[in-house]
């Protein structure tokens, strides 16, 4: 049996529900859970931790059925978006809160708290009240408090969403270093796909109280199982007709463009091609001698800056598609609106998605 097994969890809380959620997670895996508001993500965490008892279905952890176990006996840690630090205790006492029942003596307890605070860079804040800390410092304290008790499983409910962009990036790096570095088993709810890309091994997409797709990052992001998943993970679709299929490549005609993909399809059938913006390479000059099978001449219709990257909206004939480039590349290539460019897409980055929603 896997380290964590959720089998057919169902619960109806009126506004929120779970409708038969089943998931398996191995020890040391980092699962990112994404989905729109009201998808049931937080309820899922609260069922795992024991604040809600599912009306049916079971939760197994390390081979033991913990569905009926009280939350305090599960040894599952949680980090909330709003930190949930105890305002009447200072940072030291907050971190030490979970250790007070551990019979380790005062000195050992202090040593543990200080070591964890040092790892998270908050060792100089131990005497401070949580209310006097910045958002990032509060989140580090919450993380230290959850990790110091060495939980069997760590749950994180949008831990970075209340932070500003820079602190979010720093804290994300810290999560990678501290949480991933310790080999912790984690379920991380997020709205930010960057969190998933940076931290997760696997991703689950939830909607309407169900996990509608889960798997490795490549599987979910490159081969979304449905239009909803594709939209949610920023994948772009092209609809077209298969012109030829052979020698490991299929050629699909999309609004006069011919695009090649590694996926096989029946000649003459209507298919949808999925493309992720970050896989598109942009060049000012026509590239020669490149391995990419798809070379598309396009015009830059718009440039949407987004922090360190910009999204170029490219148009080729009737087809519009985005490409993600860094701010530096944009400046180096002196790309401006209405510039003529060439977009390169490897055949392996264009995936065929079936009309009925299941990836091939």
């Amino acid at each position: 049996m896997s380290f964590l097994r959720l089998s057919g969890l169902r619960i109806d809380l009126g506004e929120f529900s779970l409708n038969g959620v089943s998931l398996d997670l191995e020890k040391g895996e980092y699962l990112g859970v994404i989905g729109p508001t009201g998808a049931g993500k937080t309820i899922l965490l609260e069922c795992i931790i024991g604040f809600y008892r599912p009306q049916s279905g079971r939760v197994w952890l390390e081979g033991t059925d913990i569905t009926d176990l009280a939350p305090e006996k599960r040894r599952i840690g949680i980090v909330y978006q709003d930190y949930a630090l105890l305002p009447h205790l200072n940072v030291f006492k907050n971190i030490a809160y979970g250790l007070r029942k551990a019979k380790i003596g005062r000195e050992a307890l202090e040593a543990k708290v200080r070591a964890m605070a040092e790892v998270l860079g908050i060792d100089r804040l131990l005497h401070r009240s949580p209310e006097t800390l910045s958002g990032g410092e509060q989140q580090r304290t919450a993380l230290a408090r959850a990790l110091v008790v060495e939980p069997r499983l760590l749950l994180m409910d949008e831990p970075l969403s209340a932070l500003d962009a820079q602190t979010r990036a720093e804290t994300r790096g810290l999560l990678r270093e501290v949480v991933r570095g310790r080999g912790a088993t984690v379920i991380h709810i997020t709205h930010d796909l960057d969190d998933v890309w940076a931290l997760a091994d696997r991703v689950a997409v939830m909607r309407g109280g169900e996990v509608i797709q889960h798997g490795g990052l490549d599987q979910v992001f490159s081969r979304p199982a449905s239009r909803f998943v594709a939209d949610f993970v920023d994948t772009v679709f092209f609809e077209g007709t298969v012109q030829s299929c052979g020698q490991g490549l299929s050629a699909v005609s999309v609004n006069g463009l011919t695009l090649e993909t590694l996926d096989q399809a029946v000649v003459g059938s209507r298919v949808r091609l999925a493309l992720r913006p970050e896989t598109v390479v942009v060049s000012r000059a026509r590239p020669a001698g490149v391995s990419a099978r798809n070379l598309i001449a396009a015009r830059v219709e718009d440039i949407v800056p987004n922090g360190k990257t910009s999204q170029l909206i490219l148009r080729s004939g009737e087809t519009r598609f985005p490409a993600l480039v860094t701010q530096g590349s944009l400046e180096d290539m002196e790309i401006q609106k209405d510039a003529e460019v060439f977009a390169l897409v490897k055949a392996g980055c264009l995936r065929i998605v079936r009309e009925n929603g299941l990836s091939r």
Binding site: I49, F51, A70, P71, E72, R74, I76, G77, I78, Y80, D82, A84, L85, L86, P87, H88, Y97, G98, K101, R145, A146, V149, P151
Partner: protein, 261 residues
Amino acid sequence: MARKKDLFFWLTLCCGWVILAFLLLPLIEMVFAPSVQDMRVTIEDPAVRRTIGLSIYTSGLAALISFALGTPFAYLLARRNFPGKRLVESVVDLPIMIPHPVVGIAILSLAGRNHWLGEFLQSLGVRIMGSVTGIVTVLVFVGLPFFVNSAKTGFEAVPERLEKAARTLGASSWGAFVRVTFPLAWRGMLVGFIMCMARAISEFGAVVIVAYHPMVAPVMIYERFTAFGLKYSQPIAVWLILVSLSLFLLLRLVSRGRRAS
């Protein structure tokens, strides 16, 4: 830049002055009416001292009972939703709306010999009519809503997530309540305690029906007024106000001290 003061501002200010004058004038007049000699003679009367002491004792006990019974109930109302919750909350507020002599009559009718409960209490030796037990029972009845509502507001101000976080760190639901919720909501409970005691110490209508004797201060003030007139009732009223005010100020100071620490 000074804000422009229009007609509406002056209207609000005038209303404020009228209300303050309305509330303070009678009290100021009463406090300064008795001479120092009258005040000294009054407090030297053992019956007056006993009566004020009984008022403080019974109202304090009523507030303590409200605290013991009302805290878990207020927590339940703050944390849980259940069918009929609105109705239950209305029932808690009932004593505020019922005329207080009616409260006294209702309690007497329950505790009298014609009711099985009264008969049962009497078989246990518990007497309501004309006893301290009766006074405390009435005072709990009229004071409880003030404690429950204030404590409930205090609990509602503590995010449930804090308790949840504590539970994931090994605290039982009782442990999370004691170590997290109680230390954060105690101020609401203290305010409730003070309001409950203040309401109880001022109660007259219900007490006078259940227990004319032993005499609490409001009953004695009424008795002295009807028997001897205004001059003899005022000093007791002033002493009751002074003692109550000192107690409540002390409680407030203690709460402020704890907050600062």
